[in-house]
Amino acid sequence: MTRDIAVVAFARTDHRATCEDTSEVEMLMPVLHEVLARTGLRTADIGFTCSGSSDYLAGRAFSFTMALDGVGAWPPISESHVEMDGAWALYEAWTKLLSGDADTALVYSYGKSTPGSVRDVLTRQLDPYYVAPLWPDSVALAALQAQALIDAGDTDEAALAAVGARSRADADSRVPQGSSPGDYVVRPLRTGDCPPVGDGAAAVILAAGDRARALCERPAWIRGIDHRIEAHALGVRDLTDSPSTRLAAEKAGAFERPVDTAELHAPFSAQEVVLRKALRLGDGVRVNPSGGALAANPVMAAGLARIGEAAARIHRGESGRALAHATSGPCLQQNLVAVLEGDPR
């Protein structure tokens, strides 16, 4: 690696944002303005812009083009989009900065789940020949993984409920509290094990080298990022493990030194159990101090928010070395791991 690149600013919509009365760009603009204000940058100062979102959430083709209005895309800017969680947009921006093509990048992502039924919408990402015709929804697939973990003795329903309760307690006090595990949605998962359906957006600014130092008092240096994928057929995989997460973490350098913080993108409680195991996280690691996706799950932005939350903890001096993880697809099919560090203080 020839250049040091850091996350220098992060913003996200409020956990309880109810965005059903706003368009995507109206929902997105406040977080874009917030990261720009934090760095003092203007749109014209940004070298590269990359976003993540999904047309299936909006129910419209090329829906991301409308959101571009919010970044000041005219006169033409250097811009790209991934039809994925914004964590993967950040990966693209990171490579762009590594290549020296830009010194700063704006990365944002957003998702409005509320116009459709996100459980049904997500079935459209499944194998269209053998799986999608059965319409197994996202909770059903996560529940199969949870039962596999319970059968393997890795967790039980009480431990899963505790994951959900801790996540919501760690989130903003504005989030509705309650440790009640709730009713079964798809057994063994109860409402408390499942992510809330919500709308939201996240934005991050990346900068290289001295630009990062100038823009942020304590930049969160990206020491490595990697992402890996597993076989798409669920029946081929060991659902109690996540070898792709482990491999991504290894390639990102996560195991070279211990981390103190881990922001894990685990929309379902059982997935946190899988990830802790795959990443060999001990009890000394603070997992999801932000509350994670169990407290707020704007689809397509929740993964970017994990990187942003980990970085913000470094900015605030609460972490020296943090791991951030993002996932996509059913039962942790694709996984991205980033390792972030602050300068010694």
Partner: protein, 313 residues
Amino acid sequence: MPEVLKAPLVLEFPFTRSLGPVQSAFLTGLRERVVLGVRATDGRVLVPPVEYDPVTADEIRDLVEVAPTGTVTTWAWNPAPRGGQPLTAPFAWVLVRLDGADTALLHALAAPGPDAVHTGMRVRVRWAGERTGAITDIACFEPYDGEPARAGDHSGAFDDLVTGIVAPARLDYTYSPGRAQSAYLHSLAERRTVGERCPVCRKVYVPPRGACPTCGVATAEQVEVGPRGTVTTFCIVNIKAKNLDIEVPYVYAHIALDGAGLALHGRIGGIPYDQVRMGLRVEPVWTDGARYPDHYRPTGEPDADYDTYKELL
């Protein structure tokens, strides 16, 4: 603030998909009550079969018949089946490793309740009465406490292969255009065209989308524009669109309404198509009950000077 509009939005698409040799054999087999797997490079039998080895990515084609009986490797009780799912009564989602297979198939298990389901339980295929060569030819699995069924030795060769599937999809949404476009549509209903002015560059956007794409800031100040405007550019449409009750050729134009900072689209009528020109002054024509102008027609004014609209092209 006027009410934000909402409307149902349905996305429906019958996806026609062709099958490769392995998927074709597997789905044809289901139609004939034969379950086929494929042997992977490491010797494992994968059911459902895939065309490329999940470990080595080698092409694999060695089809193997497996039994219609098997073992549940994990399950999840679904108390409230959703549209499109295999059973309408509460059921268990299951991954089933069929006898003779090394991997598991996702499907539904009919059972009286969650207490009747456990990992390791024995199940068998319940075939659909009418089979077409699709994963739904397996209606579901059902509990089974007999001996493992003996797999035949079908080679995977069929006379009448299924070569494609139609995968229907339907998703229901409630679409909302947001604050800015709702306000625009509300005003259109009163036959007024209202844009929004950017607080930074002062440009008036019609229709407004809530943000200035140049400045990247929210637009809020509402400004009524038009009703008259100028044709900035146009094209002549010679092909009739499906379900469109307009004679061809007709003219589709960019129209800069007076006071607007950019042009919107509209059809030009009331003038022969070959007489439409840049600079032509036009006004909207409303039809009874319509929520937007049907078309724009010439006002009879002299043409606008090029300099007055060249920035809006």
